[in-house]
């Protein structure tokens, strides 16, 4: 009898261990799939802050390479010869399709794109008590930032085109051409703007102080329209650009007021401004002599550089540090009011040149220069706009993109005999 008892217990044991294994969620970090299935409001807000966090991810590389190729500045560093080598096209060197300088900023933009797609999915599935207006607020913010990030990736890749449909990592959409990508981005911005219009008076999530003045659906929409104006400019659609500017945060009366930015803080657990370098060091960002020559010492924008002891590296010599950012705590703007005014100037050339001159003068006088006194033909005005953009948007990733869209890359100054000005970055090796 006892033996039968044992046998019985044995059978129980068999039964116990043969049952199913419960799937184990990773207890250390939330799984993307779990959050997507049913996110709480605090999780949705963490996803939104995550997007804001990713907007600054590797973005230092973006500004550096665009500014170096556009000859805003050089990056002198003993730790990597590629900044003064491949990026400037030294000798016979080429941009590398596995190079960190082009691939890391590109990959980081798509991480933001992914974060937006995951937030969009989570919003569709969530059972948290959110109104439709509140959901529209999340979507309007996220889609605007997705469009912004796609346009940075497109700026690097240009005629290579980019992928715009990347929601399924196992079935990525095809590459689309530069023009198609711009249309996609423009549409996405318009969609986002519609969402923002339906988003009520306030966002349900909190943005950092870097979005001060842009943290309600209505005020954020003025940023959305500003980006839309930039894209329209890239598309060459001047009337659309002017239209968008009207709803943007453009303020002719206060040209130097800034715009929304990426948040940086030199604090534990946060990120420090990657573009600030202590002036005077041997590792530093050195203003390109052409920019030093272009800026009038009386121009307030001359404060973007600081003179230093002459420094040479790799047959390049400079004597000014770039001090666009003054500390590790400085935010990095997505877009400034100065840019909007300059877009307005450019959009008016050919249709309303006096409006263009007025916009130019707003910039000039605000920076301590006399009003524009040159010719007012279309081409003369474009030269002046190019000069003002070079000064106002120094170090903010525009010069190279501007010269490229104006077909003036051949005017970018070269420093060494065999240097090159690249048209675009090679498609990253992982995409092939």
């Amino acid at each position: 009898m006892k033996k039968l008892n044992i046998l019985f217990m044995f059978a129980i044991g068999l039964f116990l261990v043969s049952c199913e294994i419960e799937p184990i969620s990773n207890p250390n970090d939330p799984a993307q799939g779990d959050v997507t299935q049913d996110a709480s409001i605090s999780e949705l807000n963490a996803l939104t802050s995550g997007i804001e966090d990713l907007l600054r991810s590797e973005v230092g590389f973006y500004y550096d390479v665009v500014s170096i190729i556009g000859r805003d500045y050089w990056f002198f560093t003993g730790s990597d010869p590629r900044y003064t080598g491949e990026v400037l096209g030294k000798g016979s060197s080429q941009l590398d399709n596995a190079g960190f300088y082009g691939n890391r900023p590109y990959a980081a933009r798509y991480r933001t794109v992914k974060a937006v797609n995951l937030l969009t999915e989570a919003l569709a599935n969530t059972t948290a008590p959110l109104t439709d207006a509140e959901k529209s607020g999340y979507l309007g913010f996220a889609k605007t930032m997705q469009a912004y990030e796609l346009h940075l990736a497109l700026n690097l890749q240009y005629q290579n085109g980019i992928r715009v449909d990347v929601s399924d990592p196992n079935a990525l959409g095809d590459f689309v051409s530069y023009d198609e990508a711009l249309s996609f981005i423009a549409n996405l911005l318009n969609e986002a703007n519609t969402d923002l219009g339906a988003a009520g008076d306030a966002f349900r999530f909190t943005l950092t102080s870097a979005f001060e003045g842009f943290n309600t659906p209505a005020s954020f929409a003025t940023f959305n329209r500003g980006i839309a104006a930039r894209i329209a400019l890239y598309q060459g659609d001047m009337s659309a650009a002017s239209g968008y500017l009207a709803s943007s945060f453009m303020d002719m009366s206060n040209p130097l007021s800034g715009g929304p930015a990426r948040f940086y803080a030199n604090a534990a657990g946060d990120q420090a401004n990657p573009l600030f370098r202590v002036p005077g060091n041997s590792d530093g960002i050195i203003a390109h002599p052409s920019w030093v020559a272009a800026v009038d010492p009386a121009d307030a924008r001359a404060a973007k550089i600081a003179s230093r002891e002459e420094i040479s590296l790799d047959d390049l010599t400079g004597d000014h540090d770039v001090v666009v950012f003054g500390s590790l705590d400085d935010n990095v703007p997505f877009m400034t009011n100065e840019e909007l005014i300059l877009i307005s100037a450019e959009a008016n050339v050919g249709s309303d040149n006096s409006a263009a001159v007025a916009a130019i003068d707003a910039i000039r006088t605000a920076n301590g220069l006399a009003a524009y006194g040159g010719g007012t033909s279309d081409s003369e005005l474009m030269d002046e706009i190019a000069a003002q953009r070079q000064l106002s948007l120094f170090g903010l990733g525009h010069r190279w993109v501007d010269m490229r869209r104006w077909n003036r890359l051949d005017e970018v100054p070269l420093d060494r005999v065999d240097d090159d000005v690249w048209v675009q970055f090679p498609r990253p090796v992982s995409e092939n």
Binding site: F10, I24, N26, D29, D53, V166
Partner: protein, 989 residues
């Protein structure tokens, strides 16, 4: 051959047409003793060909009721030759068993529920007895006691730091992404052998450079097991032997059986050993002269020249290798064990207290281990075996290995020339090292890096004889085990050390780590044995298994200290991280073993496994096995010189589950402007990831000559691993950078040869020896992604490369001659895998004097020696001024090696082969009797006393990246290895 076939045919006829045997019951009584007349208690007496058997009592007596006459009685006892005795009628017999000169009769534990005699085994299972393990010398941990004692193993110590840290691979590398370490099972308990880092990276910054590994170099937890408690170790080297362990067995299985009590007189053993340890291979330091200082690019400036001249004039030139590594550490090991019991209950109690100093000041290892094993017969059909082991250990490991902050003692030592004065002043204040971020003498005096473990392991095994008749029996075996420990680590860097004071560093750092780990396992088996009168014995087993694992590690960091206390809340800034890891595995196993008269032994089995670590936790994966052993000498007449001839083959599959994080796509937690943020991780987890599947086939033959005084075994194996898990690059527009994928295969092939001989057998002189030789070579046979380099710091500093058609452990570097570059612009300089290894064990006894020694030869295998690079870069290398390297004879060695840096990695990839006198021990039994029959033994032993190697550092056995993964054999300023000498006294009552 004809004879063989006749016998086989006859056997089959007998099997099929069962015969009617004569029934003539009767009892046989008898006594079993050894050749000195001592009664053997618990010897097994079996009516051959049946399950009818008994064991001897306290006086060595037995009574067995026979099923039939004539019959053969088989009497066996561990450590003795099995004897067969023909009995034709009831009556009294007396049997004397001879000491076993060979291992053939030893029972080998290979399975979850059943054992097998070594002579019937189809695999080359390495067995290590307690005598081989701990009988020669005192090793500091169990794993170091295994060196050279089993063929097919490759054991590499990570460093000489007290408390251990090894990597053990059986028959080659079996995983690329994960670890190739075997599963350790002690008395049925699955033992956790994790290496859990202490969080030193906050100071060392080791992970912020070319490698993202924190390189904390923790010990692995097998170190806690006391080798003195071990009776035997069986090593199942691959899937063909270990298939029944399924997804736990990819790296092989090491089955450890601890000592058990025997009925009879209580046996008490006391032992004390005292010894010292010292640096194994001092390199010396660069001897500077005014000329070499002046010519030095680092020191040839007025300040340093003046400093050198002044120090030389004052006689203040130091040998810092001696200052740092010159401590002669005191070793003490106290052992008390007791065993005994009666027929119903037997016990074994073992205790060890160990206290060892290291060769660096303030380093050392303390351990206390208590074990109690109890066996109890509840009634005639129910037995229970209980094991329990408590261990407390504390290791002060020093602060070594790579960093990116100049703070480890090893790195700081490389940067310091001999004239720098680092000694403390009369008030005990250490000067700042003018040639480095830290003063390593001060670091040794003040910095703590301690691991303290409190561990309990317990197991219970219940054996129920559910049903027995004359020729069949059914047993149920239920086995449970658990292993739980708390690992507390303290890394303290007080604010008075150079790299923490005066605004350097973080003004004092204390890192407290707390890990709680529990591993549990259980199995339940039914074992049905049926013996047929035609000599065929069938054993059928079926059962289920369960095991789980739970680790919870919390690391708290505190910095900005006002005082030199280490309490967390004394620091102003406190932060922390937590990591949990949980897994559950469930499986079943069925096996059928057929044994025809010990002539032909055939086994087939199937294991099924599911695991929470797999993409689909409830998908069952199946692993078959089959094996065949044929004892030809049992079947046919062989020339009398050939006393044993067995041919064998075994096939099996097993697997390795994915790593814990492989299946998850996660969000990282971060913060922006004080807001919590989720950002998608760049790792694309694979929700359908499957285990890495290993298939092994093994062939071998065992020969015995001259009544098995000479034994030869030869084994060849092919072990393939498919579905290897990789991190493959994905298009970055997906938002991810790498995806976990099953995407490679590799193959290991190897040969293992063993020769044991009882060379001299006489009354007062005995000499036996065992020679083992083994080799393994591996190849990546399939790789779904482009070849890549991994495991090191950078290609120009030497790296490992995973490439189709190449060894997975090949070491590549850059080369100056473009003609020698391969399609990846790299050059293969070597391979971490040795060409072959050989070990030679000798046991010599001369009356009451016994001398044993073990030689270990590892031929080939390369290391990446970056200690040498750091010495060179700092111009402090011991051979910097020699001139035997530059073919043009112009540059001295240091300048020559540096001139190649970046263009050729050749100088820093070095042969890591060695010949070592691993262990030697001499013991003399004094001609005195303690009490009734006690003995007193004196001895002396040494570990690593002779070391011959070309490798240009402290020890070719080294691993900066610890025991996991591929890249053992990268050296960056480790804690140097040491040699040991011990004196012993042992008393036995």
């Amino acid at each position: 051959m004809k004879n063989f076939i006749q016998k086989l045919t006859l056997s089959l006829v007998l099997f099929l047409g069962t015969t009617a045997a004569a029934i003539a019951q009767g009892s046989v009584t008898g006594n079993v003793s050894d050749n000195e007349g001592n009664a053997l208690i618990g010897a097994s007496v079996l009516e051959k060909g049946t399950t009818n058997g008994t064991v001897t009592d306290l006086d060595g007596n037995f009574t067995i009721t026979m099923n039939s006459f004539p019959a053969t009685l088989e009497i066996s006892y561990t450590g003795y030759e099995t004897q067969s005795l023909e009995v034709t009628s009831g009556g009294n017999v007396s049997i004397t068993l001879e000491n076993s000169a060979t291992q053939l009769d030893v029972v080998v534990v290979t399975g979850l529920a059943s054992n097998i005699k070594r002579s019937n085994l189809a695999n080359n299972v390495a067995s290590i007895s307690s005598k081989e393990l701990t009988g020669i010398a005192v090793s500091n941990t169990t794993e170091t006691a295994l060196y050279g004692k089993a063929s097919g193993t490759n054991i590499v110590a990570s460093s000489g730091a007290p408390g251990g840290g090894i990597s053990m691979k059986l028959r080659g590398t079996t995983s690329i992404n994960g670890s190739s370490q075997p599963l350790f099972i002690i008395d049925g308990i699955f033992i956790d052998n994790s290496s859990i880092p202490a969080g030193l990276n906050i100071v060392s910054r080791a992970a912020s450079g070319g490698s993202s590994s924190n390189q904390d170099n923790p010990s692995n937890r097998l170190a806690d097991i006391d080798p003195n408690d071990i009776e035997t170790i069986e090593i199942l080297k691959g899937a063909s032997a270990a298939a029944i362990y399924g997804n736990r067995a990819a790296g092989g299985v090491v089955i450890i059986t601890t000592k058990k009590g025997k009925a009879g007189k209580t046996n008490i053993n006391f032992g004390q050993s005292i010894g010292w340890t010292e640096m194994l291979n001092p390199l010396g330091v660069r001897q500077f002269t005014s000329e070499t200082v002046a010519n030095s690019s680092r020191f040839g400036n007025p300040t340093d020249i003046a400093a050198f001249e002044a120090a030389q004039a004052a006689g203040q030139i130091f040998n810092y290798e001696e200052e740092l590594y010159g401590n002669k550490g005191l070793l003490s090991n106290t052992r008390l064990s007791m065993s005994g019991g009666n027929e119903k209950t037997q016990f074994f109690f073992g205790s060890t207290f160990k206290n060892e100093e290291g060769i660096v000041e303030n380093t050392g290892y303390d351990k206390a281990s208590l074990r109690l094993n109890v066996g109890h017969k509840i009634n005639s059909w129910l037995d229970v075996d209980l094991t329990s082991n408590y261990v407390r250990s504390s290791a002060d490991r020093g602060f070594f290995n790579n960093d990116n902050s100049g703070t480890t003692m090893g790195i700081s030592f490389t940067s310091t020339p001999s004239w720098a004065n680092l000694l403390p002043d009369e008030n005990g204040n250490y000067p700042a090292n003018p040639y480095g971020t830290s003063n390593f003498l001060e670091t040794a005096a003040k910095v703590t890096n301690n691991e303290t473990v409190n561990r309990f392991m317990g197991g219970a095994k219940l054996t129920a004889k559910l049903f027995t008749n004359d020729n069949s029996s059914l047993k149920a075996i239920v086995n449970t085990g658990f292993d739980t420990y708390n690992l507390y680590t303290l890394a303290s860097f007080p604010n008075t050390v150079q790299f923490q004071r005066d605004g350097n560093g973080l003004n004092g750092v204390a890192v407290h780590g707390n890990s709680n780990v529990t591993r549990r396992n259980a199995s339940a088996f039914l074992l049905y044995t049926n013996s047929m009168s035609n000599g065929l014995l069938s054993r059928t087993q079926v059962g289920v298994t369960y095991d789980d694992y739970d680790r919870n590690s919390i690391i708290s960091e505190s910095f900005d200290f006002v005082n030199t206390l280490t309490n967390l809340d004394q620091g102003v800034n406190i932060g922390g991280t937590q990591f949990r890891q949980i897994s559950v595995n469930k499986g079943f196993f069925v096996q059928e073993e057929l044994n025809y008269n010990d002539q032909i032994i055939a086994t087939v089995g199937l294991r099924g496994d599911k695991s929470s670590l797999n993409g689909d936790p409830n998908k069952m994966f199946y692993y078959p096995k089959a094996s065949l052993a044929v004892n030809i000498h049992e079947m046919v007449g062989l020339p009398s010189v050939l006393s044993n001839l067995k041919v064998r083959t075994a096939y099996g599959q097993s697997s390795k589950t994915p790593e814990f994080l492989d299946k998850y796509s996660l969000y990282n937690q971060s913060a922006i402007g004080g807001l919590p943020a989720y950002t998608p991780s760049s790792l694309y987890g694979n929700p359908v990831i499957t285990p890495e599947r290993q298939t092994e086939i093994e062939f071998g033959a065992d020969f015995g000559f001259l009544n098995n005084r000479l034994l030869l075994d030869a084994t060849y194996y092919i072990k393939t691993v498919d579905d290897l898990i990789l991190r493959a690059q994905v298009p970055s527009s997906s938002g991810y950078s790498v995806q976990v994928t099953n995407g490679a295969s590799l193959e290991n092939k190897g040969i293992e040869l063993g020769l044991s001989a009882s060379i001299i057998e006489s009354d007062n002189l005995n000499w036996n020896a065992r020679l083992s030789w083994w080799t393994n070579s591996a190849l990546v046979t399939e790789l779904s992604i482009p070849s890549y380099t991994t495991g090191g710091f950078a290609d120009f500093l030497g790296n490992y490369r995973i490439k189709e058609g190449h060894s997975p452990t090949e070491i590549i570097g850059v080369i100056d001659n473009p003609d020698l570059r391969d399609e990846d612009d790299l050059y293969v300089y070597g391979d971490a895998e040795p060409d072959w290894q050989m070990s030679w064990f000798n046991g010599l006894s001369f009356g009451d004097l016994e001398i044993n020694w073990l030689l270990h030869w590892k031929q080939g295998g390369e290391n990446i020696n970056l200690s040498a690079l750091l010495f060179d870069l700092n111009e402090t290398t011991h051979d910097y001024d020699d001139t035997d390297l530059d073919p043009s004879g112009q540059l001295n060695n240091g300048d020559y090696r540096l001139s190649l840096l970046g263009t050729s990695t050749a100088p820093y990839i070095q042969d890591a082969g060695y010949i070592r006198l691993r262990e030697i021990g001499a013991y003399y039994k004094l001609p005195v009797t303690l009490g009734d029959s006690g003995t007193l033994t004196l001895g002396v032993s040494g570990t690593n006393l002779i070391n011959i190697f070309e490798y240009d550092s402290y020890d070719p056995e080294v691993s900066n990246f610890g025991s996991g993964g591929l890249s053992t054999g990268v050296e960056v300023t480790p804690f140097p290895s040491s040699k040991r000498v011990n004196f012993h006294i042992k008393a036995n009552f």
